[in-house]
């Protein structure tokens, strides 16, 4: 073959080879060039900072973040909701999982915060920094609102100038993208007036004790201490005596169902008794071996004996406790003939614990026995005393469980730690004295190890303790449904986030005078739907049944609209909770001015109509637009409807009126004399729009007209029987159709020329008070007994009965995607009660439904993030919000 190759083909082959080599070599060369003159992101952070952040691989960390199970609930917290659209956009794009991107952007990110609140962040873009030169040209063409590229030679940079916040400066320097809130700071870096201080020895990231984390932060010790100071005065008192080293570090690692936080610092205290404890090396507590698998919470102290704890309490609480102890000592000597030292300290070891078991309210206390002979002696002297009574008679499931009455002086000492067990049962098991007011708890604990049913063998413990050493001086194992640890009692953002994790394990250990705190918390809920952040909201007054959402163009902020006490329209800002009100003198109806969001708060946004016929067009701030309110004098016969920005009002004098946004009132000439008991239903817009009407009558007819009331060819069409509502106009295969359902269940489907579609009418078995809805493929109907009907265009139908639902007064809603089309829209149903049901198109109940709600909820995508949100009014005058996939 080679011999037969022509020179032309040979040249072509060589050219292709050269191109291929260039295609490989050029990027490779560019990538290699990025290795020249590189600086570390830390090196450009100037001066003394109060906090330093290090993210070893931002892309990988962000990828783990979006796969984190609790992310949705975190984003629904008001503090984080502003970031939700960006985060969800990233999640949907799946760009972060791209291995090429991960490889290209594998550099570190460092940031510093300074005394005056200023910040600088610097990200090593790795091999992707080869593309930095073309970034200004590319980004400038993207026309991002508020983002400008400032040409200033070496100091050229991006400036992001949001409307209501200070400017953010973004500079590209060598292999780094640098972000700062100060022009001076960014110019100093770009001009190299502060040369990078890049040496391996003093590089801050090298000094993190933890490894493998997603984000690490170093802060001043006192800042960290203040994070733990909450409502508990005793803990605050103790913390006030503790001083962490100048710099403390915290490292956060994210996994799919778990968050792991490590905090480390040197520690010193002003209390000698505490220093003694902190000098002790931590070990694996023995109590772990006997905690039953049903343990719901446990506090384990394994760095201090009872004497240490009493001494520490005395040091922190002062002389009053000393007096109490002296009195107890006297009482003990008099009554029992033994001193407090003998009574409490002669037999107790260095471990104490309190824990609670599933379904059992009384806790179990455990004390390590250091000297069993001494314990026996003490207990014998206690039980033989006339001052105390014991009861050795209870034999529980064949096991004798003795009981003792706690002497008052001992109860007084225990009350220092809020322990109240006036007459506990007790058992000795595995070197521990177990005490509880409930003997069955002792029995369960005593037999747990024999049954191999200990906490250590559970999947929960296994998962929580992975990545942390079991050596600890103090451990807290918790389930938030049973106990809330002190560090979660605050309301700051961190506590709010950590409360989203149902189970947790916090440990404190001491090694070489360095304190290590770890918190491993795991999500236990997979709630679907997830409650929206900030919900539920209690409303002052009787909330109406309909919820609407008003958003401004280009804004992610949503406002919920609902009526209160019938006469007041309220608009509640989702993010701030700010509530605006418009009050009418009599009950009112409200409808959005347009499905298109208004451009600003001063633009027309909402129509209202009172039962007396007063129409008002309101702006986004709920102030009437000029020329409104308008007393129309129309005796209103039904809720009005808005079409193309105009309000259509039906009158009980058989009239139909159109009120325009300019305030003009036009009577539409109707071709019939009966009263409309429901507003016309519209299809299309502009001149092509049509109105479908049903003047309710036993000699009823359906009418299709244009918006001026001119009857379309082929109409009216007679119907047999009485019905509620207006016919449903919809487009199927580009043709207009009308569906109409009588109370007795006769479903008609009519074409634009008034002729019946093949197979119709269909008789549905049920009683109907609602017209059907259209989901793009099927018609859906709701019968009063809670049966839901799905009717195809071929006149075939299927149905399911929702147990417990009565729907004489009901609502049927089809999920719409707004501008996006939804392949399989879901159906939502409310009836005579405070439950909102959800069904898939094939009648499968949606997970987590029914949820609380009544009337007509708002269902849609609040923030354009692909999630469905539902905001419903509750009969208990509460606004509920849910989010689901």
């Amino acid at each position: 073959m080679g011999k037969n190759t022509t020179p032309r083909a040979h040249r072509a082959r060589n050219t292709i080879l050269v191109i291929l080599v260039l295609l490989v070599l050029l990027p490779l060369g560019a990538a290699l060039l990025t290795l020249i003159g590189r600086v570390s992101p830390f090196s450009v952070l100037p001066g003394e900072h109060i906090a330093y952040l290090h993210v070893p691989n931002p892309v990988s960390s962000a990828d783990r973040l979006i796969r984190h199970q609790a992310l949705e609930e975190i984003l629904s917290l008001p503090e984080f909701s502003a970031a939700a659209p960006v985060v969800r956009g990233l999640a949907e794009s799946r760009i972060l999982a791209n291995p090429l991107l991960k490889a290209a952007l594998n550099g570190d990110m460092d940031g510093a915060v300074y005394d005056d609140g200023a910040y600088i962040f610097s990200w090593d873009l790795g091999f992707a920094s080869a593309l930095l030169k073309i970034v200004p040209a590319v980004v400038s063409r993207m026309n991002i609102p508020g983002l400008y590229y400032v040409q200033a030679g070496k100091l050229s940079r991006f400036e992001y100038r949001p409307d209501n916040a200070s400017t953010v400066y973004i500079g590209l320097y060598r292999n780094l993208a640098v972000v700062a809130d100060s022009r001076d700071a960014i110019e100093a870096i770009l001009s190299e007036s502060t040369p990078p201080s890049d040496t391996a020895e003093n590089s801050e990231p090298q000094r993190f004790q933890s490894s493998g984390f997603d984000a690490g932060i170093k802060v001043r010790g006192e800042s960290l201490i203040s994070m733990f100071m909450y409502q508990d005065p005793k803990i605050n008192e103790l913390l006030s005596h503790i001083a962490l080293g100048e710099t403390a570090e915290a490292a956060v690692t994210l996994e799919e169902d778990r968050i792991l936080i490590h905090i480390g610092s040197r520690v010193a205290t002003r209390i000698p008794q505490l220093n003694t404890l902190l000098d002790r090396e931590s070990y694996v507590p023995a109590i772990l071996d006997i905690l039953p698998s049903t343990t719901q919470y446990a506090t384990i102290m394994s760095m201090a004996s009872v004497r240490d704890l009493v001494d520490l309490a005395q040091a922190v609480q002062g002389p009053a406790l000393g007096t109490l102890l002296a009195r107890a000592d006297t009482a003990s000597s008099m009554l029992l003939g033994v001193s407090i030292d003998d009574l409490l300290y002669s037999w107790t070891g260095e471990e104490t614990a309190v824990f609670g078991l599933e379904g059992r309210p009384k806790p179990v206390f455990a004390i390590r026995i250091a000297n069993e002979a001494a314990r026996k002696q003490v207990f014998e002297s206690l039980l033989s005393s006339f001052a105390l009574s014991g009861d050795n008679s209870v034999v529980l499931d064949g096991v004798r469980v003795p009981r003792i009455r706690m002497p008052d002086f001992l109860a007084g000492i225990l009350s220092i730690w809020d322990i109240r067990i006036p007459s506990p049962y007790y058992l000795v098991e595995n070197g521990f004295l177990l005490l509880s007011e409930s003997p069955e708890n002792l029995l369960e604990t005593a037999t747990a190890r024999r049954r191999n049913a200990t906490l250590l063998r559970t999947e929960t413990w296994d998962r929580l303790s992975t990545g942390t050493s079991d050596e600890s001086g103090l451990s807290l194992f918790y389930s938030l449904d049973r106990s809330v640890p002190f560090f979660l009692k605050g309301n700051d953002a961190l506590a709010q986030v950590l409360k989203l994790y149902g189970k947790g394990l916090a440990k404190m250990s001491v090694h070489d005078s360095r304190i290590q705190l770890s918190l491993s918390a795991r999500t236990t809920r997979s709630m679907n739907p997830t409650p929206l952040g900030g919900f539920p909201v209690k409303i002052q007054g009787r909330i109406g049944s309909t919820v609407n959402v008003l958003s401004l163009k280009g804004e992610t902020v949503s406002r919920f609209l609902y009526t209160v006490n019938g006469k007041v329209l309220e608009s509640r800002n989702y993010h701030t909770g700010e509530t605006l009100r418009y009050e009418a003198s009599d009950p009112l109806y409200a409808a959005l001015f347009s499905q298109e969001p208004p451009t600003d708060l001063n633009a027309p946004a909402v129509w209202t109509l009172s039962e007396r016929g007063v129409a008002a067009l309101l702006d986004g701030g709920l102030s009437p637009v000029e020329g409104f309110p308008l007393a129309t004098g129309i005796p209103v016969s039904a809720a009005p409807v808005v079409h193309d920005g105009a309000l259509y009002i039906t009158g009980s004098d058989a009239s139909l009126w159109r009120i325009t946004k300019e305030g003009t009132k036009e009577r539409i000439s109707l071709p019939f004399t009966q009263v409309l008991r429901s507003a016309p239903a519209f299809s299309g817009s502009g001149r092509k729009a049509v109105m479908a009407m049903y003047p309710k009558s036993f000699a009823g007819k359906l009418w299709l007209t244009d918006t001026d009331g001119s009857v379309k060819d082929g109409w009216p069409v007679s119907v047999s029987g009485i019905a509620f509502g207006s016919p449903l106009p919809f487009t199927y295969k580009r043709d207009l159709h009308l569906a109409f359902l009588t109370q007795a269940g006769e479903l008609s489907l009519l074409k634009e020329d008034g002729s019946a579609a093949a197979g119709f009418p269909v008789s549905l078995p049920g009683i109907f008070y609602l017209q059907p809805v259209w989901d793009g493929t099927y018609l859906w109907a709701l019968a009063s007994d809670g049966s839901v009907f799905r009717v195809g265009m071929d006149a075939m139908y299927d149905s399911r009965k929702l147990q417990g639902l009565a729907a004489k007064n009901g609502t049927l809603i089809v999920e719409t995607g707004g501008e996006k089309s939804i392949e399989n829209p879901r159906i939502f149903i409310s009836g005579e009660g405070n439950l909102l049901y959800g069904l898939s198109r094939d009648f499968a109940p949606l997970p987590g439904f029914p949820v609380k709600g009544w009337g007509t909820p708002w269902i849609g995508d609040l923030e354009g993030d692909g999630y469905t949100d539902c905001v419903s009014a509750g009969l208990d005058n509460t606004l509920y919000g849910w989010r689901f996939k």
Binding site: D391, V395, L396
Partner: protein, 358 residues
């Protein structure tokens, strides 16, 4: 003195002997057990016996439940949660038996053993007089409980008793989803009644609310309800509230009810759908000053045709009234074809009809 000393010594010996024997008695073994699945099931059986007593506290059923409670209480069980729960249910039974002291004792036992026990929270609520305090206590208990169905239900019952029907429905609907089906069987009718009264205005007087709560009403009550909750009869009364003896003949005299030659009606006659339609339609005609409405269907629209409603022939005295009320949506057909004119009207239905007309 010597005699006194002797008595003293004898007494001391007696006390010591008594103490010795009583100590011995105390030291007898109590063979007890933890609560197993069988006991838990039996406690659920007790719950199933006690729940229906809220609606039907007949002495036979009370005695049956008490006997079972006594039997459970006599079991040698040492299980804090079981004992607390049993005490709470026993206390609830004592409330129904009108024995508040015993109920309080059981509440104390239950709370001391298991403060978060939902049945104890319910018992506490039943022993509290102030409805606002009940709600506060139940909300606190509900927040702390991992199994709040019982507490939410009790809150719904308190709301119902206080006339807060919307909150009652919300509570019933939420709790009955969480609880076994016999709860829905017991409280379903109360829940439905709460729903019927959900639309009562906040301004509705207690007298009107009571009438609206009735499953059947007489014409005397219907006229009271009309006067109490609307101004529809003001054209007759001048805005005063007239007693039955005065309003009934006045209403008859204006033709708002069928004349004796058409139908015999007295203030004690129960309201049925046919006569209700007559009253509403004639009232509508007077209210709107349109007497033509009274014959528009029989003499104009259906003069030559059959009645469009199967069970209301054109010859029926209320033919025009029924058609008018259905078309104007004061009333509805029962199934789209029949009106069922002889069916009794409940207070809440009549209230809704009046509100639609007003």
């Amino acid at each position: 003195m010597g005699r006194m000393k002797l008595y003293g010594r004898v007494s001391l010996v007696c006390v010591l002997i008594a103490a010795l024997f009583s100590c011995a008695t105390l030291q007898e073994d109590q063979m007890v057990n933890t609560a197993d699945d069988i006991l838990e099931t039996e406690l659920e059986e007790l719950e199933k016996l006690i729940i229906p007593l809220d609606m039907d506290p007949s002495s036979g059923n009370l005695a049956k439940a008490r006997a079972f409670t006594d039997e459970l209480e006599s079991r040698p069980v040492q299980d804090t949660v079981f004992i607390a729960r049993l005490a709470a249910w026993s206390g609830r039974l004592f409330v129904l038996e009108n024995k508040p002291k015993e109920a309080r004792d059981r509440l104390e036992t239950a709370l001391s053993l298991s403060p978060g026990e939902p049945a104890a929270a319910v018992l506490q609520s039943r022993l509290t007089a102030d409805p606002a305090q009940k709600i506060t206590d139940l909300e606190t208990a509900g927040r702390l409980s991992g199994d709040p169905g019982l507490i939410i239900l009790e809150k719904a019952l308190v709301h119902y008793a206080a006339g807060s029907y919307r909150e009652a429905v919300a509570g019933f609907d939420e709790s009955l989803q969480m609880l076994p089906s016999y709860y829905a069987q017991t409280y379903g009718s109360l829940r439905d009644q709460a729903w019927n009264l959900v639309n009562l205005d906040e301004e509705t007087s207690p007298a009107a609310a009571e009438l609206a709560g009735k499953s059947e009403i007489t014409w005397a009550e219907a006229l009271d309800l009309t006067q109490e909750s609307t101004s529809l009869l003001d054209f007759l009364t001048g805005g005063d509230t007239w007693q039955t003896a005065k309003i009934f003949p006045a209403v008859m005299g204006r033709g708002l009810l069928p004349a004796p030659e058409v139908m015999e009606l007295s203030p004690q006659t129960r309201v049925v759908r046919g006569t209700a339609a007559w009253f509403l339609w004639h009232l509508n005609s007077v209210y709107r000053a349109q007497p033509g409405l009274l014959i528009m269907y029989s003499s104009v629209m259906f003069a030559e045709d059959a009645s469009p409603i199967d069970d209301v022939p054109i010859t029926a005295p209320w033919f025009d009234s029924v058609l008018g009320c259905v078309e104007w949506e004061f009333m509805t057909l029962a199934d789209g074809k029949n009106f069922i004119p002889w069916q009794a009207v409940s207070g809440s239905d009549f209230y809704q009809m009046l509100k639609s007309l007003e």
